[in-house]
Amino acid sequence: MNWLREVARRLRMLMHRHQFDAELEEEIRLHLELRQQEHLESGLTEGDARTVARRRFGNVTSLREESHIAWGWEWFEHLAQDIRYGLRVLRKNPGFTAVAVLTLALGIGANAAIFSVVNSVLLRNLPVRDSQQLVFLSNPDAQGMEQGFGDGDRDFLTYPEFQELSKNDQVFSGLAASASEGPKLSVRIENDGPGSEGVPAQISLVSGSYFSVLGVDPILGTGFTSDVDTVRDASPVVVISYSFWQGRFGGDRTVLSRKIGIRGTWYDVIGVTPPQFSGETVGVSPDVWVPLSMQSEIYPGRDYLSLEPKPFHKIEWLQAIGRLKPGVDVARAKASTNVAFQQILQSQTGQMSAEDRRRFMNQHLAVVEGGRGASTLRGDFSKPLQILMAVVGLILLIACANVANILLARSAARQKELAVRVAMGAGALRLFRQVLTESILLATIGGAFGLLLAHWADAALLRVVSGGTSPIPLDVHLDSRILAFTLAVAVLTGILFGLAPAFRVARVDLSSVLKGTARSIASSGSQAGHVPVGKILVVAQVTLSLLLLVVAGLFIRSFQNLAAVQFGYDSDHLLLFRVSPVSYGYKGPEVVQLFKDMIERLDAIPGIRGASLMDNGLFGGGDSNSPIFVEGAKPKAAEESDSRWDMVGPNFFSTTGIPILYGREIGSQDSGNGQRVGLLNQTAARYYFGDANPIGRRIMVKTTLAPSDFVVIGVVADSKHGSVREKPQRRFYIPFFNPIGDGDASSANVLVRTSGDPGTAVSAIRAAVKQTAANLPPVEIQTMNQRVSKSLATDRMITQLSGVFGALAMILVCIGLYGVMSYAVSGRTSEIGIRIALGAQRRRVLWLILRESLLLVLIGVVIGLPAIFGAGKWISSLLFGVKPADHTAVALATALMFVTGVLACYLPARRAMRVDPMVALRYE
């Protein structure tokens, strides 16, 4: 512990170093005076006595310094000195400081903003206890629900599987489950005043073990216990989120004695989660957690909990999260879990064919680290975020070059000051450090402002990403990682743009500066026979911003292509909404009647050209896929016979505007249990029948529900069902009212086509729905264009942002080029004066300057071109209908760079043209 005490002593000295110096001073003075006294007494004169005393003592100043330095704080004092001096210099040049800080704030701010999103989507761990112990048995990157089965790694688990796996306590200290996707439901609050409407709330169904396994301790009340899992429909309790508590209950602590109503059931509020916790899925923020055992209250009409007698029917819908026991690693957990899982599967294979059994048993659990939680955002945003991070990194480099250029120019102006300091004994290293400290100081101030900017930018960014609807609830708050990142970026930036000026300062040429004969940087550089640093920086800037402009150009062209895609139907006049009557008490035939009535009422609204319905909807996220076989034809292999399909109502094709190529469309006469009819799209017709006429042929559908068939009555044109990017796919359509499988359609997507602006029909549609089915809550009606726009949100974000950053890069280059060119002109004033005096035409002078600027741009462009192809390849997976080396984008970007070159030297060139030879020559 000796060294600790030593550190304490040293620190105490640092705190009181002025007192320390005074005391040492006093001590030395006493010594000298006593010695002088002694000599006086021995007979010397006063003057001699003092001289002898001093001689015996030695060099007072250097000994004092030596005593001071012994404590080891020299570096700190120099640093403090440098910072103080640096701040003074910055304050003395407010214009320069403002420009540099603003440039850096923009550059660093852009980086911090994008990094905050990267952090919350890709890096951050869940705010729970020991998140590194968590593993997912399901696929954390998936969201939704699956029925039937595929072989390979499972995305989700069924409830019976989860229950069975929970018994395996060899590797997990606990296992929790949560519904991968939760509904947004209207929630009422008990005693919330008369006539109060319900509020929309994000619901999450979770197991009783959820909060204890995740290690989330409610700040009020308790979490669930395993009791809530034991009896179905008997645990009407909820835990609510901190923000829901604050927003709906005003943070009232009596909330634990209140109830909230969801779909007609009243639930006791038993706990409130801590503010930082927002569930296991990043980008989804549940307001209310409900026990899984209450599933049929939340999703009425279906049973997701019981063991399905037919293994093919089982519903996989749960994310399962395990907490590893201490000392158990992921690999061991995976092995152990899969042994248990195989036993579960084995117990279900009873009456399967050998082939089915083989595929069925070939299902596995991936078991992956789960500390970062689940999220589909990772898959969607990972590449765009990487690209944006690279883009803002380049922007920062360009900004750095600008600041370095200003600093270089300024260090020329400061040469006298620095030379004086050298003359007074400042070492080269000390000056180097001084200038570097100034740069880092500048960058740190810029970084601080950048963080502020990032805070605003993130809010805007989330809105853009979310595509106009309510922002994705992403937590982008400032955490230690963002802070560390920003600080590191700022310091690196400071070093980067400070190095060149610092080196220049460290080898200041004393005599020439003090004699006043030193030339400017530009000319001294060229005299020495090498290219000036300023120009190299500008060329680098041109190269980088050319890259950014091409990337922006590619994204813009790609987005134009996306926006111009034809869907194969009248997307401008379509409205869609989803109704699920089964969830609101309608049963069996009532549901079918309700759909028929609703279509009839909608058809009757003036200004509406037609209404129909379909199962999966357009751009709604769902699709069906099954193998089909043409009767009497040679069967294709299982995978090659797959076709997508949907169930559609009467007049679906005339309603949407999908052209019928031949045959007829599905009408109301095709309802009921008679011979099922169906249509193929063009791609399917060509694939299964070639040039032959498919009408009248019978097609077998092998779904996992029940084998069925239909007779082809027509062929329709291809259309886009799920995304703008989808290629033409084989697809067939069968009647909604003569469905495949066990029949009862529980919900449907209703489509309405208007003759005019679809927005004006919304209220009439809502009224018609209310008249048909009073029990249904108000429907959420979207135009087709809104859905498409939402599906393109990520593309729009990256297009807009790359455009903005491209423009920013161009502006920065323009400023940088302007600086270098004005500097060059001012350095060559006398030369230009002589030229003009000797009869050079003004136009030639203009060309002289212009040529230099364009040459710099040209070099930058030539260096940049190869990089463009690399960058284009890297982003090509996000491009649509554009080659990575699109000529238009490259040509446009190059042209823009040259325009920038001309613009930047306009002012300097004009100044050069107006040089008065008399004035210029008088300076020499």
């Binding site: 006093e26 001590e27 030395i28 003592f57 030695g58």
Partner: protein
Amino acid sequence: MHGYEIANSIQRISVDVLQVEEGSLYPALQRMLIKGWVIAKWGTTAGNRRARYYQLTVAGRKQLAVEMSQFERVIGAVRRVIEAV
């Protein structure tokens, strides 16, 4: 003892053999303060002036013993070398 007294006593005890720059005593005292071998207290001299008095600590005595034994070893070695000639 304060600094002046220390310088004087070195000179006196060594009978003027050891005459160093008196000032170099002060950086040396600082280094010993850092190590905790001596502590310093302000007091008053016989002539009624403020002076800093230094005192050896326990750690200082230990260090002194270490240094002494090291010194003895070196001197012993030197002596043996010289006597062997």
